[in-house]
Amino acid sequence: MSTPAPAPARRPLASYVVGRSGLRRPGPDAWRTAGITVLCVLVAMGLAALLVTISGGSPVEVVDALFTGSVSDTAGWSQTLVNAAPLLLVALGACIANRAGVFNIGQEGQLLIGAMVGCFVALRLQGPGWIVVTVALVAAAFGGGAWSGISAAMYYTRGTNVVVSTLLLTFIAAQVVQFAVNSPSLLQESGMGSGPARPQSDAVPEYLRLASFGQYPDLTIGVGVIVAVVATVVLAVLLARSRWGFRLNMLGLNPMAARHAGIRASRLGGSALVLSGAFAGLAGGVILLGTVFRLQPAISNNFGWDGLLVALVARSRPGLALPVAVLFGALRSGSSYLAATGVPDYLVDVVQALLVLAFVVPPVLSALWARRIRNRAPVADTPARPSAAAPAKEEVPV
């Protein structure tokens, strides 16, 4: 930072989206990692195919069903995008936290709290539709942010483990929502007609639901999708180009160096954690106002966990999280077509977990391999400073 570097040539916009190493010429490490990744994905797919075969199904039929349900026609694409939006939002939040080196795994709970707060606002606030919707979404983000803020406060004042506190808070969040939808004074539906009131909230009125463009057989794109995509672009640029993004990366890669450079870990890391919760909460608001329309204990439907997996596959890069979220969304929408093939739709969960492994393992293996090569080289040839064979560490910020 001391000596001004010559101004770099302007890079095309695409590289902002892909990330810092976007259009840099890939070195031998990148090729090795890519090669191992391809191999691992093939192994994962092979394992999934094996699983289908031993359960008496046909892998070809399964792939066909997944394809039909997700991307074969515009209706499928619409469903895929509807699923991808909350996944992407959660993943964006996870990217921020991972970059800052605070690993938040409580998105499922933050999403639930976000949906609950959003529901509360949407049902209680009077006013013109678009204002109420906006306020509800912002409130949902605040709810999720506050929930992860508890973990942040605990970490930076008492030093409690973030992973454990976010994890435990997830289960508390589930009970908070259960309590809310079981208390008539809070959010339980006002039992219209006969029968006891069920543990869910009233439906959000028609005029407060998120608009979507396009009619059913054609491609429909909801507001949630647009919000998620815009957030992705903004976040990718901020992380790659802004002072905030630089500091965040610095904090995550080397907290000690960051501290010596004058970065306040509690403020920056804490706000990263809060922000990641806010994104999860926003995802909850989008699910509530975009698809489910009423608060139910099962409204989160694993979107929080899966969104975190998306971020892991994308290696905490917003630009990569976009296609990965679409892929996971496609798997989700395709899974409803699996019933016809006789293969349980839990297959999709297995495939997702295997995919994550297939993307998490290669950078580490590649780094190990590079170290082997380096160690085998004669001592005289060892460069004085870390060579290109070493920097694999930054590939895995989590």
Binding site: S55, R158, L168, F171, N182
Partner: protein, 302 residues
């Protein structure tokens, strides 16, 4: 009347405590070695599934019980090698393993048929007649394995050279390393014990208590085990007390409606997590937590 109700609730509390206690023995040992193992949930679930699968295939629930422990061990092998050999973040590994096990067991459950398989009751004559406390002596027989496992875990950690090295690895891996202890080997071994015990706990839940397997059977019990270890401030006695408290809270939740007592069920479900969080905040500065907990070890400058 009061004694009868108390006995029923106590019996149910003990039944719900046992799976937690088995897994807690493993998690306690793993955490003392420095691994905050969140895949204990996946280990329990896979153990529960393996026990029913093998038990129903061989027709012997006892074989199933031990097979469940072995399945837990296999999951631990995967976790240990990913996180303490090639050094992937242990929480990432745990998260993926939990997802994978949940998906895989639910998938296999729908594609296979299992018969009912359950281990027998062991009633100790005489002692079982004691009012209230008699329920202690009328349990499924693997319950009494706790009498073996708990002292053994305590002995391993606190009275063997291996346990001393384990604790050293959990407190200060750099120092342990320079004194010749293989840090990551010890951590892998600790995870093996954790897998074995968690598998046994899960197996006890399925072939011991229920007799069959259903999807997501453990339902977060693994995370309650983590809460219990934190609640016990990384000591075995406190951990087991935590297990009993959380088991009792679960039993109360089930029993209260029939006893006619009004208590918020959501609060009872959330109680273990709330207590664990409170203990984490209160104990944060007490130095009870293994100092290198959840910090990966790699040789080199700190």
């Amino acid at each position: 009347m009061w004694l009868d109700d108390g006995g029923t609730v106590l019996a149910s509390a003990l039944r719900l405590t046992a799976p937690l206690a088995f897994a807690a023995c493993g998690e306690y040992l793993a955490e003392r070695a420095g691994t905050l193992n969140i895949s204990v949930e996946g280990m329990m679930l896979s153990g529960a599934f393996g026990a029913v699968a093998v038990g129903s295939a061989t027709g012997s629930p006892t074989v199933g019980l031990f097979a469940g422990a072995v399945v837990g061990l296999l999951v631990a092998l995967v976790h240990a090698n990913l996180s303490h050999r090639i050094q992937i973040n242990t929480f990432v590994v745990g998260l993926v393993i939990n997802t994978l096990v949940l998906g895989l067991t639910s998938f296999l459950l729908q594609t296979m048929e299992f018969s009912r398989t359950q281990v027998g009751m062991l009633r100790i004559p005489g002692l079982a007649e004691i009012p209230l406390l008699g329920v202690l002596f009328e349990q499924r027989w693997p319950f009494y394995l706790l009498l073996l496992v708990v002292p053994l875990t305590w002995f391993l950690v606190n009275r063997t050279r291996w346990g001393l090295e384990l604790r050293a690895v959990g407190e200060n891996p750099q120092a342990a390393d320079v004194s010749g202890i293989k840090v990551n080997v010890r951590r892998r071994q600790a995870l093996m014990w954790c897998g074995l015990m968690s598998g046994l706990g899960g197996a006890f839940l399925s072939v011991g208590l229920v007799g069959s397997f259903n999807s997501n059977m453990t339902a977060g019990r693994g995370f309650i085990v983590i809460a219990a270890v934190i609640f016990g401030a990384w000591r075995l006695k406190g951990t087991l007390l935590g297990c009993f408290l959380f088991g009792a809270a679960d039993a109360l939740r089930l029993a209260l409606p029939s006893l006619g007592v009004e208590l918020n069920p959501q609060l009872l479900v959330a109680a273990p997590y709330l207590l664990a969080l409170a203990v984490m905040v209160l104990m944060a500065k007490s130095q009870r937590e293994p100092r290198a907990l959840s910090k990966p070890f790699e040789r080199g400058l700190v």
